[in-house]
């Protein structure tokens, strides 16, 4: 007798499964309520990443094109895989007469970065932060190597530099 009960029970389990998928099918066919995918390039204007999203490292600049980096290279030292190169130079501050470091180039290799966030933690000035940009692909590797300080930018006056 288990022969027939096998058939009946087996069919029953199959039909239960079909009921689940069928429910989703008809809901999606008529209302699209359960559709979980997003139509990516269409929603590009409304798509907003979370504030903490780690897209890339950026250097914060204020409206006067000034940043806070004094080229202390702590971020460079904190980075586990050499994604950051800080090129600094020294000059004499005309006001104080002291010999201070200033930033020439803050080079960031996005192609090597693992988004671990150690550089941002290490920065004593909060000069660098996470950017929420997620369009990080490029056809050429060299396009991923970025200079973070904008051309002509200077350190915020009043900071150490």
């Amino acid at each position: 007798m288990s022969y027939f009960s096998d058939i009946i029970n087996g069919t029953k389990t199959l039909l239960t499964g079909m009921r689940i998928t069928g429910k989703y099918f008809f809901v999606n066919l008529f209302t699209r309520k359960d559709v979980i995918t997003r139509q990516y390039p269409d929603n590009i204007d409304t798509l907003k990443m979370f504030d903490r999203y780690r897209g890339e490292v950026i250097m914060l600049h204020n409206e006067n094109n000034e940043h806070k980096c004094d080229a202390c290279t702590l971020c460079e030292k904190a980075c586990p895989n050499g994604s950051i190169e800080v090129i600094g130079d020294k000059k004499i501050n005309p006001e104080t007469g002291k010999n201070v470091r200033f930033l020439v180039k803050h080079i960031y290799h996005l192609e090597m970065c693992t988004m671990c966030g150690l550089c941002i933690e290490a920065c004593p000035q909060n000069a660098i932060a996470w950017g929420q940009n997620y369009h990080n692909t490029a056809y050429d590797r060299s396009k991923l190597t970025k200079v973070l300080n904008k051309p002509g930018s200077k350190i915020v006056p009043g900071l150490k530099g």
Partner: protein, 372 residues
């Protein structure tokens, strides 16, 4: 009769390369099968296609820098891997973390476990041939990933633990989102059973297949859900409780059958348990610091250190030998997948190719975890 037939019908054994590029091997694992028709005579596992020498890389990194590398081992339980390293260093330096940190870590662990198991469930169905389960699994995983992204900043390689605490405090939406998830998942988990677990074809594919006895499971060093499917009690959360596991109430799931279906049931039941742990903790996150002050340069005193945690795949261990420098002298990750994979040959003896795929799926391997 069968002997007579095998005498009369001369068959030839042949080799079949499964992988490194094969849909069933979940990555770049190469299996060299010795087959007689469709029946498996021997399985050779060929590893090393995704070896990145992470253990060696750890030797040139400071303890803070090691953490983000552990994300890349078993990427489905990255949070748990991070925690293992942090716990090890905190234990070695006698850093006492606050209750808040412990509870948050535990919650994140369980979310990670659910997201890993949910993905496993989807892929399990896909390996057996039910393609739809994959998307259903991803629906739940997507919710968890959103929780992670909002609080930790990334969806997969969260890197949320730091030595002495957490990178950020919880996001204000965290509790609400977790509650939403619990509500949602409680409704969806029974659907998993209806769709797959009770399905007669699915059960026939798994029941009695890939049997491994309790003794063999211990002898092969199996761990995690794979071993618990053979009745071995091996939950690190119970044996050596860490973080807040000593204050939550949960069961260790074991099934004595030792077949693929038992391993399947263990993972399904573990999702229920994880859900109950989350429910117990979500309203009781203590106030306090999310990060304890540590020294800028962390140096472990000379000696050997070991920390075990229960990752989604089993017993994940970190072993560090320190010579007192700021870099470890030697780091060894004990990956659960590697031990589990070794039993594949034993489990799939005399079965068919389709069974091998099912067994591989119930072992739930992540190849970057095995190769490191």
């Amino acid at each position: 009769m069968e002997e007579y037939l095998t005498d009369q019908l001369k068959t030839q054994e042949y080799f079949l390369n499964m992988g490194p590029q094969h849909p069933a091997t979940h990555g770049v694992l190469r299996l060299l099968l010795k087959l007689d028709g469709e029946i498996i005579r021997n399985v050779d596992m060929d590893l090393g296609y995704i070896h990145r020498s992470i253990e060696k890389m750890c030797e040139r990194d400071t303890y803070k820098q090691i953490i983000h590398l552990t994300d890349r081992l078993d990427y489905l339980s990255s949070h748990i891997n991070n925690e293992a390293v942090c716990l090890l260093v905190e234990k070695a330096l006698n850093i006492e973390v606050t209750d808040r940190i412990k509870v948050i870590r535990t919650m994140m662990d369980e979310l990670t476990r659910i997201s890993s198991h949910v993905l496993w469930w989807g892929v399990m169905g896909m390996d057996i041939g039910a393609l739809t389960t994959f998307m259903y699994g991803f629906r739940e995983r997507e919710m968890i990933n959103d929780i992670f992204e909002e609080t930790c900043g990334a969806r997969l390689t969260m890197n949320y633990n730091v030595i002495g605490g957490l990178r950020y405090d919880l996001h204000e939406n965290f509790v609400k989102r977790v509650k939403d998830f619990i509500k949602h998942f409680k409704k969806k988990l029974p659907e998993y059973d209806k769709l797959l677990s009770n399905n007669v074809i699915f059960r026939k594919r798994l029941e009695g297949i890939g049997y491994i006895s309790k003794e063999d499971a211990v002898a092969y060093g199996l761990n995690g859900p794979t071993a618990r499917g053979s009745g071995v009690s091996c939950d690190i959360r119970k044996i050596h409780p860490y973080s807040a596991y000593d204050r939550v109430d949960f069961e260790e799931i074991t099934f004595p059958e030792g077949d693929s279906y038992a391993r399947y049931k263990v993972r399904i039941q573990e999702m229920h348990q994880s859900l109950s742990i989350l429910e117990q903790l979500v309203d009781k996150i203590p106030e306090g610091e999310y990060k304890v002050k540590t020294k800028a340069v962390i140096k472990l005193p000379e000696g050997d250190y070991l920390q075990r945690v229960e990752s989604a795949r089993g017993d994940f261990g970190v072993y560090v030998k320190s010579d007192g420098q700021k870099f470890p002298y030697r780091v060894k990750f004990r990956s659960p997948g590697f031990a589990n994979l070794t039993a594949l040959n034993k489990m799939s003896e005399g079965l068919k190719i389709a069974d091998l795929v099912a067994i591989l799926s119930t072992i739930d391997i992540v190849v970057p975890d095995i190769d490191r």
